[in-house]
Structures are given as structure tokens and as C-alpha cells.
Amino acid sequence: MDIGGINPAILIASLMVASVPIMLAAIGELVVEKAGVLNLGVEGMMIIGAICGFVVAVHSGSAVLGFVGGALGGAVLSLVFGLLTQFMLTNQVATGLALTLFGQGLSSMIGQGYNGIKPPATEPLNLGPLADIPVIGTILFRHDWMVYGSILIIAAVWVVLKYTRTGLILRAVGESHDAAHALGYKVVRIRLLAIMFGGAMAGLGGAYVSLVRVPQWTDGITAGAGWIALAIVVFASWRPWRVLIGAYLFGGITVLQLNLQAAGAAIPVEYLSMSPYLITILVLVIMSSGRGKAALNAPAALGQNFHASR
């Protein structure tokens, strides 16, 4: 059952794998933005996560430890952003950009000598008979644990934001830090924790790129995935489950264009490679204009620094 040399079941299966990095980075950034902080350094945290995860995995021989290392690397880098924006009250846009520039330089510095090495493999989970179901088994039940883990994280973020006190406080801080402060919540501390969660998720996503998706280390390996993740948060209008949809949409486009390249479509390779970025822009336009008005759903205090004057 092939269409133009592409098997749809395998296409959907690889779509789920391709969307993991941006899904993780986007859900992390969603939490950060819900707390009222705009961290544009997702790309930098992802690539640091990618190299940290890679190095840890290669030296320890364990992919799981690699993912932990990637998450830690991303969280540590995000802490730099946190300290600067929360305590030194720096401009969040500029600091986020600095984080990306710094992360790209630092990652290729750490990554020297790691080119061409193969990291330890992340095996698909053995789900027994489920994996043998025709078509559905191929699509859903032959993935590694990170694919399921990332969906669980989305579910967890949704539950926490919607049904728990923690989520309510987090959203309050993002909607009006002055009101939250007046109620006695530690705005800066809550935001720092949110920023670190975002960093850890971006790092995890980055580690998935270098350990599973590629799996190899090259400079600039994330190739703009962090920026697409930022766009997905807007696309999702700050709602967790829509992040999943957005990530699948972009994962699908990426996989489709890669498959078209491999199948030797008549469209030049460069035009296929630029399609995910163009479609991201298109989706941003559709979401931001007209009745959608994604911006209306944005946390009210997004990007504003908090300084307790009293």
C-alpha cells in the first residue's frame, strides 16, 4: 500500500518520532510563558541539551543517562537566563537571543571530537502482541519510550495547569505578577522554577535529536527546531493538547518532505527543506489574524519583568 513510493503507515510512525523534540521544547516553553516569561533561547537550550546528552550517553554507554544529562544541561543554561531576567531585570527578548548565540557557540566547542561517533541506541519498547497488529501496530506500538513519555508529559502539564493549585498559582503569576505578589506568592521563585522546567524540556528535546533522531553529533544539529517550538506555542494558543497537534503537524511536514526528497520528487531539495519553515510562518499568520486571534489568549504579563518596588 504505497503512495508515490511512500508507505503511509511508516510515514505516520516516523512523524511521531520526528515531532518529539519540538513537542518537548514547546511544552516546556508553554509552561515558561504561562508564568509570564518569554524565553527566546529555546534553540540554544535545545542544542546544549543535544550535546550534553550526547556526551553523557557516549561516555556512560547509556542512552537513558544521556537524556538525563541533556535535560540537566538545558536546565543549567536556562538558569543563566533566569538569573539575568529575574534578578538583573534584563530585557527578556535580548537575553533569550544571547542564550541562543551563546548556546550555539558553546555546543560546538564541547562537541569538538564527537563528530562521527555513534551514540548508544535507544531501543523500541517491547509491547508484545500489540506491536504485531497490522498498520496500527506499526503506527502506534513500535516506538521508544521517549515517544510515549513526551505525550505523558503533555498530559501531566495539562492536568497540573488546569486542575491543581500549583497550576493556578503559575497562571496567576503569568497573568498579573503584581496581584500574585500582593497575595504573597514568590513571583521570582515561581518563575525561576518554570524557566528551569522549560530548559529541562528543551534539553530533553535536544538530546532526542542527537541520540535518536539523527543519531550523531554535528554543529547546529537542531537547525531551527527551537524556533519552530516557539511558533508552536503561539499556534497552540497556550493550550497543552494543541501543542501535541502542532508538533504532529510540523513533524508530519518534516517527514513528508524528507520522504519526498528520498523518493526523488521533481521539486528541488532546497525548496523541500525550506517548506517546514514556510508552513510555520503560514500557520502563524492564520493563527494570529482573523477570528483565531491567538494573541488574545496570551498570558497578560508575558515578557514583562517584575520588580517589587514595595
Binding site: 524556533w227 503561539v234 532546497e270
Partner: protein, 361 residues
């Protein structure tokens, strides 16, 4: 306990002192980073900041490089600074730079082998137009559809890079190049070349343009109503709207200027130092210019100095990777670090740090 107290107005002393302080702090932190890499920190810092200018062995080669590298950085950074002042974040200058180069090279090569002196000015116009056009995409999407200009302008960098690859492999490939990617060498075609104007200085038309733009931007910001509007829109958006400043017009204008200047920088680079359109034509000037703009405190004169300093780190970095086998990526990390420190010490401009304990009212 440390406590921050907002200053009634930004401190003028700190406004000039913070960039210097940031550079010093970066040198210290960078030295620690180099020491961790197993290099002698003092020697590394000296190789980056001192040797390119004063070492008798290298200075004759690297001094001209200073202007060659600073030219595009200053051109792009001045454009960006106007937008940043107004709160309009064009961070896709890299893409506009690429498109400027492609448009200019495209016009030039379409006219090949015409040999009149009108070809070069025509290419300048094409380069400006290319960069402007690429910047107009995020600007128009922002004003018409309220799309975030940060994301769109950045995503367009990746699109531009793909167009660049496509051009150097296809449309603009040198027909006499034996199938290798890359265009004809524009630097060797007299009508299109952007040569060194005064031998041994590195001065080319792009550097001349950069100096002119610095002066023009200074006059614009200090003496012209438009410059006032730009500053007003950044500092008090509501007041600006009441004063009749149209945010949409300002967005289109600031994005347009920064795009045009980035395109111009790309044009001068492709006809001069780079020489041809190739897959790896762009070297990140568009991103480094963001650091230059902030290091120069978004002030044209400051940007001039910051551009020279940043060019020095490029040249010194090359020298250090050649002499001390310092990884070239270390310089990129070093530049990123500079921006961190700069943003951090900026706190001293707007706030006072008080040591005393908070009193109970």
C-alpha cells in the same frame, strides 16, 4: 541584604561605563573558559585583543581586516538598533543579508559581460532592494495580521539559507566553473568588483557606506522628528500613539531600513571580501550584529566602536585558532558571553544597589 532601587533617570556615567565593564568581565570569564580548555588565558586574551593590532608579524595582515569585518557589522547593527529602540525586533538580519547578496549578484550576473560603470550602482540598488523585500515580509505580516515579527524574521533566515544553496547550485552557478557550486567570482569582474579603495587599509565601498550610515543615523536620532518618534515609541508606546505616531508605519519603516542596510552589507560582501555566491557565503554577521547593536548601546557612535571591537574578536579568534589551536567555536561562545555580561551590568544604569536592610514603615 542587597536591594535594588530604581533610579529616577538612567545614570549617564554608567551608560558609558557599562560596555567597558562588560568587556572586562567577558575577558575574565573568557580567560577562565580558555583555561578550562587547557590554554594559557593571558596569552589567549592577548592573541585575540592585542596581536591583531600590534604584533609586528601579523598586524600588517590583520589591521586591514578590521575594517573589512567591521563594515558589514556596523551597517547591519545601525539598522537593527533603530528597530530595537522602537521595540521592533528584527532578528532575521542574516536572511536579509543573504537576500541582498543574491539580488545584487543576480542583477550583476544577468548583465554579464556588460562593462559599464553603471553596473555596480545598479547592483547596490538591487542589494538594498533584496534586503528590504525580505524584511518587508515580517513587517507586513506584523502590521496586517499581527504576526510576531521575531519568529517570522528568524524563520526566514532558514528559508534564505536554502535559497542561497539553491542559487549557488543552480541559477547563479558559474557556467565555466566545472560543475562546482558557487557563482562567478564577482571580485574579478571589473564592473562588479568592490575593491580595496586605499591599499593596505581594508577600506572598501561597504566601509564607506557604514561610516555614512553611522552619521546619518546619528542625525536622524538627534535632530529629526522621525528619530524622536522611534525613541518615543520604544520608551512610551501609549504616549507615542497619543502623539499620533502610527505603530504600523513605524514597524514598516524600521524593518525596511534595517533590511535595506543588511541587504546592502550583503551586496558589498559578495562583490568584495567574499567574492562569490556560495553555499557557505554567510558567516553569521547578521546575528553578531545583534550583539554589536547592544554593545553600542543602540547608539550609532557606540555601534561604530562596538563594531570595531567585535571585528577584532573575529580576527583575534582566527589568529588564536591558528596560533594556539583554540577552537573557532570558542569565539562564538565568547561573543555570546559578552552579550550576557552587557545585559547584566546594564542593571547599574537603571538601578542603584543598596546594601542596607529594609526598614519597617
Amino acid at each position: 541584604m542587597l536591594r535594588l532601587e530604581k533610579r529616577p533617570s538612567p545614570s549617564r556615567t554608567w551608560q558609558w561605563a557599562t560596555p567597558v565593564l562588560a568587556v572586562v568581565l567577558t575577558m575574565i570569564a573568557g580567560g577562565i573558559m580558555f583555561a578550562l580548555l587547557g590554554k594559557d588565558p593571558v596569552e589567549a586574551i592577548r592573541t585575540i585583543f592585542w596581536d591583531p593590532l600590534f604584533n609586528p608579524q601579523f598586524a600588517s595582515y590583520s589591521r586591514p581586516q578590521l575594517l573589512v569585518k567591521a563594515g558589514p557589522l556596523i551597517l547591519i547593527a545601525v539598522g537593527l538598533s533603530l528597530g530595537f529602540r522602537a521595540g521592533i525586533w528584527n532578528i532575521g538580519a542574516e536572511g536579509q543579508y543573504i537576500m541582498g547578496a543574491i539580488f545584487a549578484a543576480g542583477v550583476g550576473l544577468a548583465l554579464y559581460p556588460v562593462e559599464t560603470r553603471w553596473v555596480f550602482p545598479l547592483m547596490v540598488v538591487a542589494g538594498i532592494f533584496g534586503g528590504w523585500l525580505w524584511a518587508m515580509i515580517p513587517a507586513v505580516l506584523k502590521t496586517r495580521f499581527n504576526t510576531n515579527e521575531i519568529l517570522v524574521s528568524l524563520l526566514l533566515v532558514y528559508v534564505a539559507q536554502n535559497i542561497l544553496a539553491s542559487m549557488s547550485l543552480g541559477l547563479l552557478r558559474n557556467p565555466e566553473g566545472g560543475g562546482f557550486p558557487g557563482s562567478r567570482n564577482l571580485g574579478q569582474i571589473p564592473a562588479m568588483a568592490n575593491p580595496e579603495l586605499i591599499a593596505g587599509t581594508g577600506m572598501h565601498w561597504g566601509v564607506v557606506a557604514a561610516f555614512v550610515v553611522v552619521i546619518a543615523a546619528y542625525v536622524l536620532l538627534q535632530r529629526h522628528i522621525l528619530g524622536y518618534h522611534i525613541k518615543l515609541a520604544g520608551q512610551a508606546p501609549r504616549a507615542a500613539r497619543f502623539a499620533g505616531v502610527s505603530p504600523a508605519k513605524l514597524t514598516v519603516l524600521c524593518m525596511g531600513i534595517s533590511g535595506a542596510l543588511a541587504g546592502m552589507a550583503g551586496m558589498f560582501e559578495v562583490t568584495g571580501p567574499a567574492g562569490q555566491i556560495s553555499i557557505d557565503f554567510n558567516t553569521g554577521y547578521g546575528f553578531t550584529a545583534i550583539i554589536v547593536a547592544f554593545l553600542g548601546r543602540l547608539n550609532p557612535i557606540g555601534i561604530l566602536l562596538a563594531g570595531l571591537l567585535m571585528a577584532l574578536t573575529y580576527i583575534g579568534g582566527e589568529l588564536a585558532s591558528f596560533m594556539l589551536s583554540l577552537p573557532s567555536a570558542a569565539i562564538q561562545a565568547f561573543q555570546g558571553m559578552l552579550l550576557f555580561f552587557l545585559l547584566a551590568v546594564d542593571l547599574l544604569t537603571n538601578y542603584r544597589i543598596r546594601l542596607k536592610k529594609r526598614e519597617i514603615a
